[in-house]
């Protein structure tokens, strides 16, 4: 897009700049969102570092919702309120869905596609519960070293 812009400039010379509209993707947020919706998780995170607008959009939970349910049948509407209450889709995706999908993906069982998200949700919920506990525990031994049920997903897999 940047190249197009400079080429246009070059072709038309100086006088016709006002007549030929410049195309900034940032002016067309709806197109931008459509494009970002196609990205995978990692690219979406990278996209969030481009500029402030992209950052705001990439942090929008609905993009991550899309990522979570991309390959599965659309979930019932009640799922959204639950996920938002538990911490949002971005957290669900980065914390649970992505590692679950990548580990289960190695086994390649097609029948598991929808259940992966279910399992991720359950693990996500346990994680939320544990985070609740960290904040109002009595501070004896638990605080910083509070075990997290998702830690086993974060560690590198021993193949």
């Amino acid at each position: 897009m940047v190249e197009n812009h400079s080429r246009e400039d070059h072709e038309t010379g100086g006088e016709n700049k006002e007549k030929r509209p410049k195309f900034f993707i940032n002016d067309h947020v709806d197109i931008l969102i459509e494009i970002l919706e196609c990205l995978d998780g990692r690219s979406l995170c990278v996209a969030a570092s481009v500029c402030r607008l992209w950052c705001t959009i990439a942090r929008n939970d609905s993009l991550w919702e899309n990522l979570c349910f991309r390959h599965v049948s659309p979930p019932p509407s009640s799922v959204r309120s639950v996920v938002l209450a538990l911490g949002g889709y971005k957290r669900l995706y980065t914390g649970c869905v992505r590692p679950v999908r990548s580990r289960l993906g190695r086994v390649r069982r097609a029948t598991w596609a929808g259940d992966e998200v279910q399992l991720s949700l359950s693990l996500f919920c346990v994680d939320y519960y544990e985070r609740l506990g960290g904040s109002n525990s009595n501070g004896r031994l638990v605080e910083k070293s509070s075990p997290s049920s998702l830690m086993f997903l974060c560690k590198p897999v021993n193949v």
Partner: protein
């Protein structure tokens, strides 16, 4: 001990080299008789003997494949010849396999994974973690045989086996009352522990069993309360055990799936948890109920747990946490805590069950604590089972350790426990997160201590296998509910997430069990009370 004989001219005490002895005599064989190609690879075989050596190698291969237990024998007692003198070497090995090894009664106990890693590194260049002992010893693999066998690993292997032998002997002495011999064995074993790697494998487990045995010997039959950790400590250890390995997660997820299915269509549901701990089982159920088609029911949870000594109402705290979670996901929720130090102290009226609601009783590794040593008519287990039946629950989920640690004879119990906990420690090796792993090991260590060193009412870890529970529960008026394919699928998925490749889920007449390398370690089952008139008609 493993001795490496690099000179091909020694006859050795394990003879049996027939025609090859001529080649290993002091005079060097004529050079032109040696097969050139094999010589290039480092093996001296006479061309005239090629066919016989090949045949003997094939026999050796089948012999090794047929008797995997003999490997430990090879590692400890064999005198081996330099494999570059192939004929001699293969003959010496064949004689090893020809004689049955002296009774190694602890074969089945020796940590199979550890055993094979040592053997594998010695014999072939195969992958060190394969659980299979069958190795196809081909010429190519023999080329990579290291001439300098690591004597240290062999000695460790040997010490490991000796430790197991001594543990068994010591247990036998304890059973027969010969405490002086038992004490001296304890000393010997502790000395032997220094030769063994106690960071993993047989050394670690053996260390715990030695401790437990010595505690048993030195504290008398009353047994100290090994389980004497405070309730708070126990909860922490339990939580770390939950994180470090999949057993409790499997238990929770499987039970939740069964409860979810049983609650289908009910608007008022009540779950009774026999051991609340940190309530880690319930968030997933609350979430699943929140998302069930038709909307969530009113959920009541009654959590039973030990009373907290210092005025902290830990049950109530957990209840508040769960309530907060339930409120976030819009599930109507009510919690009640019942503080009881023993399950048999709980009376059904404390649970305040409403007759209109669907009840689920959840027991994760609690029922075995009721199996007191007296098999009287009104033993605690019968009392509790009968009031559970009186509640008429839609489902009772029972998860128990799949082990036989309640036998009257000490030696049998000890042997079972050694095998069971070795397997469990093996599976824990795969865990990489600290301090979860260390604390999980302490959790298991306390169980070991209770099984081995306590007696009477102090011994609460009275595990019984699934088959026994089936008989007991059927006799008490329950019938089994099949756990279903969803539970199985979920369990399989959960296991795949855990990085270690050794876990396996098995389905056994409607019950699921989770094991390590096909040794089941924990079994989950679901039950329903048979209606009273049915039982009346079929009662004996």
């Amino acid at each position: 001990m493993l001795r490496y004989d690099s000179t091909s001219s020694s006859a050795g005490s394990s003879s049996g080299s027939l025609s090859s002895s001529s080649s290993s005599s002091s005079s060097k064989p004529p050079q032109q008789d040696i097969d050139g190609l094999l010589a290039g690879a480092g093996y001296k075989v006479r061309s005239s003997e090629l066919r016989q050596v090949a045949q003997r190698l094939e026999r050796l291969e089948t012999a090794m494949g047929n008797s995997p237990a003999d490997f430990s024998q090879l590692a400890s007692d064999a005198i081996l010849y330099n494999p570059s003198d192939l004929a001699c070497w293969v003959d010496s090995l064949l004689t090893e396999f020809a004689e049955p090894p002296p009774t190694c009664s602890s074969d089945f106990i020796v940590d199979p994974v550890n055993n094979q890693t040592v053997v594998n590194s010695a014999w072939t260049a195969a992958e060190p973690h394969t659980p299979q002992v069958h190795q196809n010893i081909t010429y190519d693999e023999q080329q990579s045989l290291d001439n300098q066998l690591t004597v240290v690993t062999a000695m460790e292997e040997d010490s490991g086996i000796r430790l197991v032998h001594m543990l068994m002997t010591c247990a036998e002495c304890v059973q027969s009352g010969d405490l002086s011999l038992a004490t001296s064995l304890i000393d010997d074993m502790q000395g032997l522990l220094t030769h063994v790697n106690t960071v993993c494998g047989i050394g670690k487990v053996a260390g715990h069993f030695i401790d437990a045995l010595s505690r048993r010997i030195f504290q008398g039959m009353g047994g100290g309360s090994v389980n004497g950790g405070s309730a708070f400590e126990n909860e922490i250890l339990y939580h770390h055990f939950y994180e470090a390995c999949p057993y409790l997660k499997f238990a929770h997820f499987t039970a939740n799936q069964a409860i979810l299915e049983a609650f289908d269509g009910h608007d008022c549901v009540h779950v009774v948890d026999f051991n609340l701990m940190h309530g880690l089982q319930w968030p997933a159920l609350i979430q699943a109920l929140a998302l069930r088609p038709g909307g969530p029911p009113l959920l009541r949870l009654t959590g039973i747990g030990p009373p907290s000594p210092d005025g902290r109402d830990s049950l109530r705290e957990i209840g508040l946490r769960l309530a907060e979670l339930a409120r976030s996901v819009n599930v109507r929720f009510a919690f009640r805590g019942v503080a009881a130090s023993r399950l048999e102290d709980v009376k059904p009226w404390m649970l305040q069950v409403n007759p209109k609601e669907a009840v689920a009783v959840n027991s994760i590794m609690q029922l075995h604590r009721l199996l007191g040593c007296e098999q009287t008519r009104n033993s605690p287990i019968d009392t509790v089972l009968s009031w559970i039946r009186g509640l008429n629950p839609k489902i009772m989920t029972v998860v128990e350790q799949e082990a036989n640690h309640n036998q009257p004879g000490f030696l049998d119990r000890f042997t079972e426990a050694l095998y069971y906990y070795s397997t469990m420690f093996d599976s824990l090796e795969a865990c990489r997160i600290q301090p979860e792993k260390a604390l999980a090991e302490i959790y298991i260590q306390r169980e070991i201590g209770n099984v081995v060193s306590c007696e009477g009412s102090a011994r609460v870890e009275r595990h019984e296998p699934l088959a026994k529970w089936r008989r007991r529960l059927s006799g008490a008026g329950f019938r089994a509910l099949r756990l279903g394919s969803n539970a199985f699928k979920q369990a399989s998925m959960l296991l795949t997430l855990f990085s270690a490749e050794g876990y396996s889920v098995e389905e056994n007449e409607g019950c699921l069990s989770l094991g390590w390398h096909s040794s089941p370690l924990i079994a989950a089952s679901a039950w329903q009370a048979v209606p009273a008139w049915d039982n009346h008609m079929s009662s004996s």
